[in-house]
């Protein structure tokens, strides 16, 4: 006879609920409450746990970075940034692939959430890449992967939550993640030559019509010299390009904390939208704010209910059991790290990054501590693995958003992502086994 602990029963129930399409947040809550009922302890605390689960100062970064990213989307900052990079290097053969990657990296320094980035810059990059001869599926694959880097390149909602759960300095995490994020972007460029292998080329008419629209936007063929066009594009994009400088400069210049940086970024985006580009109306702003409240609540509700789930994991003693099992398999830190990364990648196929952190960190952190590994570096490696989860089927939120904006079936986008997936996995191994890349910045 199987004698399962309440915590193990909770985990099984959670997966059953998720499978029958109960939203992740509610599956966490219901399975946790069932476990509390079985344990005969904890139901009286549900109210306290829900409230204390969300009323945490550092979590403020989540709604504010989502809001900042969305406002920048509607003010046209994103479009002007793309135009600038297109003017800069877009003339090279296949140059839009490079432009798309660079824009993703830059956008990653503004936005803290992967799916929000796909929605904000995806349509423009895909349009430009198709004009340049790439297939829509491959372009979508690039955007999904590049946007996933938003989770690694600071600011990152994922790193904020990791910092809270692991008790690690969030500014250190931000600093440590910069170089790995750039390296992963560089690796993406290595996938560009394989564009033809992974997807069908676009039709001539599709390519031509996209091209004409794009050339108009960047002033190519207007007869103006390169330097003039570049300068004009730079002037247009200047405020957008300034955003990462404001955010990171403010944090490391001692003007505000990473959490406050999210608030400052929001105000900065509003300022640019209202007074510089004059593209933002009070009405549009209000609609954007309400919609952002909805998207941040999607994350925050998971956080709230995951606090019940995490509580059961701790009280039931699951943490100790699983981490002992993990440590018992091998003595080598590198083998154990590899196993943890594989678990994260597998979990990433089905769940979103934040849920995974809430479930796995109580198990992983004691192991990391016991092995004497650096929690900052581990956070970056973990976040790299979780960002890959955004682009792996069956549940890859970035793929869903890309399917939504391109109208392509999920299967085609998944195929377009394959070359990027391979280089991302190579990147993950480098981040995991060359800690210096993360730690050199500290």
């Amino acid at each position: 006879m199987l004698d399962l602990s309440a915590g193990t029963q909770m985990i099984i129930l959670f997966f059953v609920l998720v499978l029958i399409r109960v939203p992740v947040a509610f599956s966490l809550a219901l399975s946790a409450m069932a476990a509390m009922y079985i344990m005969g302890f904890g139901l009286d605390m549900v109210g306290d746990l829900i409230v204390s689960g969300i009323a945490k100062y550092s979590l403020l970064a989540i709604p504010f970075f989502i809001l900042a990213g969305n406002i920048m989307g509607i003010t046209g900052i994103a479009e002007k940034m793309i135009n600038f990079f297109r003017t800069l290097v877009g003339g090279l053969p296949g140059g839009m692939g490079l432009v798309g990657t660079v824009v993703c990296l830059f956008w990653g320094a503004v936005s803290g959430s992967g799916p929000a980035s796909v929605a904000a810059i995806g349509p423009l990059i895909i349009r430009g890449m198709v004009a340049d001869g790439y297939s829509r599926a491959f372009a979508a694959g690039l955007v999904c992967t590049g946007a996933a880097l938003s989770l690694i390149i600071p600011p990152s909602i994922g790193l904020v939550i990791y910092g809270i759960l692991a008790g690690t300095s969030i500014s250190d995490l931000f600093l440590a993640a910069i170089l790995p994020g750039l390296m992963l972007g560089l690796l993406m460029l290595c996938a560009l030559p394989f564009a033809r292998l992974s997807a069908t080329p676009p039709s001539a008419s599709e390519s031509a019509s996209a091209d004409a629209a794009f050339l108009r936007a960047v002033g190519e063929g207007s007869g103006l010299p390169y330097a003039t066009r570049l300068l004009r594009a730079f002037r247009e994009a200047f405020w957008g390009l300034l955003t990462p400088v404001v955010i990171l400069g403010g944090i490391y210049g001692g003007l505000f904390t990473p959490t406050e940086a999210a608030i400052v970024a929001t105000v900065f985006a509003m300022f640019v939208g209202f007074f510089i580009y004059r593209t933002l109306s009070p009405r549009a702003l209000f609609a954007c704010v309400a919609a952002s409240a909805g998207s941040s609540a999607v994350v925050m509700l998971v956080v709230a209910f995951a606090s019940l789930f995490g509580w059961v994991v701790v009280v039931d003693g699951l943490v100790g059991n699983y981490s002992d099992a993990l440590l018992g398999i091998s003595q080598s830190p590198w083998v154990i790290v590899l196993m943890m990364l594989v678990i994260l990648l597998l979990a990433g196929m089905f769940m979103d990054a934040i849920t995974i952190m809430f479930i796995t960190l109580p198990i992983f952190m004691p192991v990391v501590q016991q092995l004497g590994l650096d929690p900052t570096w581990f956070g970056v490696a973990l976040m790299t693995a979780l960002s890959i989860g955004l682009i792996t089927p069956p549940v890859g939120i970035n793929l869903f958003v890309a399917a939504n904006i391109t109208g392509l079936p999920l299967g085609q986008i998944a195929r377009g992502v394959i070359p990027f997936l391979i280089v991302s996995l190579i990147g993950l191994l480098i981040v995991a086994y060359v800690p210096a890349i993360s730690l050199i910045a500290l």
């Binding site: 605390m45 204390s52 689960g53 100062y57 550092s58 300095s169 500014s171 001692g254 990473p258 009280v315």
Partner: protein, 320 residues
């Protein structure tokens, strides 16, 4: 809940505290468990939950949950309980105590018992007092020996009374979550902070980001072991006596440990290059004067009777 049961059916109660598992609080909790088991032949023990995990990480909520009987035991500091029991602010009134002798005389005596009485009305039986310590000031700008030195300095503080204190001293108090405090000090978002040396400043490695320490003993913070009134009343007199004795011994052990850590902690800070400023009576008096209004204001909130009891105990303590 009977002492006759076999040890296989031992009663394991849950104890929550809000620091990590490497602090004197945790050591005190472990001692408590050890003593309980010893005295009860293994029939009674506690399972320790550090970092306030039982209350979802919220250190303020622990006392509330113990008061309702949802958690059995708590070790927490008086500051964390003031939202529930405002009278707990009495210990930390600025410059109420100036040395350990005064602290011990007041807290281990009748004034401490008066606070226990108040806690009882809120569902918590306080079994014994331990120590978090005197809160000292650190900063990265300059040595602080007078209120004028503090002018305009951005200081991270722990609660509403401290905001008033630092406002009165002309500083710029800020509330920043503990998780962000280290990096805020590092980047210069704030210049300084105030916390006990032994239990926070040394173990949290604040010497990496702070240059100056001022030993100004401006506010005292005790901790205590409390048990939910529900649980307490369910025990017979013999069990109650056994639990109370274990708690007192455990907290005495913790208090000694905390004082040791504070003494050696100041040396550690010097070794790491911090400049330590110790204030003489005249210098202390300047701080005391500057904060006397805040003292009166918060004493009124605590209740004059209770404050008078504490002041009397301080006066009655023979000077060292």
């Amino acid at each position: 809940t009977t002492l006759l049961s076999l040890s296989a059916h031992a009663d394991t109660y849950r104890l929550t505290h809000n620091t990590s598992d490497a602090t004197s609080w945790q050591k005190g909790a472990e001692k408590f468990n050890e003593l309980l088991k010893q005295a009860s032949d293994g029939d009674i023990g506690v399972r320790i939950f550090p970092n306030a995990v039982l209350s979802g990480g919220d250190q303020m909520k622990q006392a509330e949950m113990v008061g309702r009987g949802d958690i059995d035991f708590v070790i927490t500091s008086a500051i964390n309980v003031t939202p529930l029991i405002p009278e707990m602010a009495v210990f930390s009134l600025p410059y109420l105590f100036s040395n350990y002798a005064q602290v011990d005389n007041a807290i281990q005596g009748a004034p401490g018992d008066a606070v226990k009485e108040i806690a009882r009305d809120n569902g918590i039986e306080i079994l014994a007092w331990g120590e978090n310590g005197f809160r000292e000031l650190t900063n990265s700008v300059k040595p602080v020996s007078s209120p004028a030195d503090l002018r305009g300095m951005k200081i991270r503080v722990a609660g509403p009374m401290y905001i008033d204190v630092f406002d009165a001293l002309g500083a710029n108090p800020q509330q920043i979550q503990w998780t962000e405090t280290f990096s805020a000090l590092q980047q210069g978002v704030v210049d300084g902070q105030e916390n006990p040396v032994g239990s926070i400043i040394v173990p949290q490695r604040l010497y990496e980001v702070q240059k100056y320490l001022t030993e100004w003993h401006y506010s005292y913070d005790p901790i205590f072991i409390g048990v939910s009134e529900k649980r307490w009343n369910g025990w017979d007199a013999k069990t109650q006596a056994l639990v109370a004795k274990a708690a007192q011994e455990a907290m005495a052990y913790q208090r000694d440990l905390a004082r040791d850590q504070t003494r050696s902690g100041v040396e550690t800070l010097k070794q790491h290059g911090m400049t330590v400023t110790t204030l003489d009576a005249t210098q202390l008096e300047a701080f005391k004067q500057a904060t006397s209004e805040v003292y009166d204001q918060w004493a009124a909130r605590v209740g004059e009777d209770l404050v008078t009891q504490f002041e009397q105990a301080v006066k009655d303590t023979a000077s060292q």
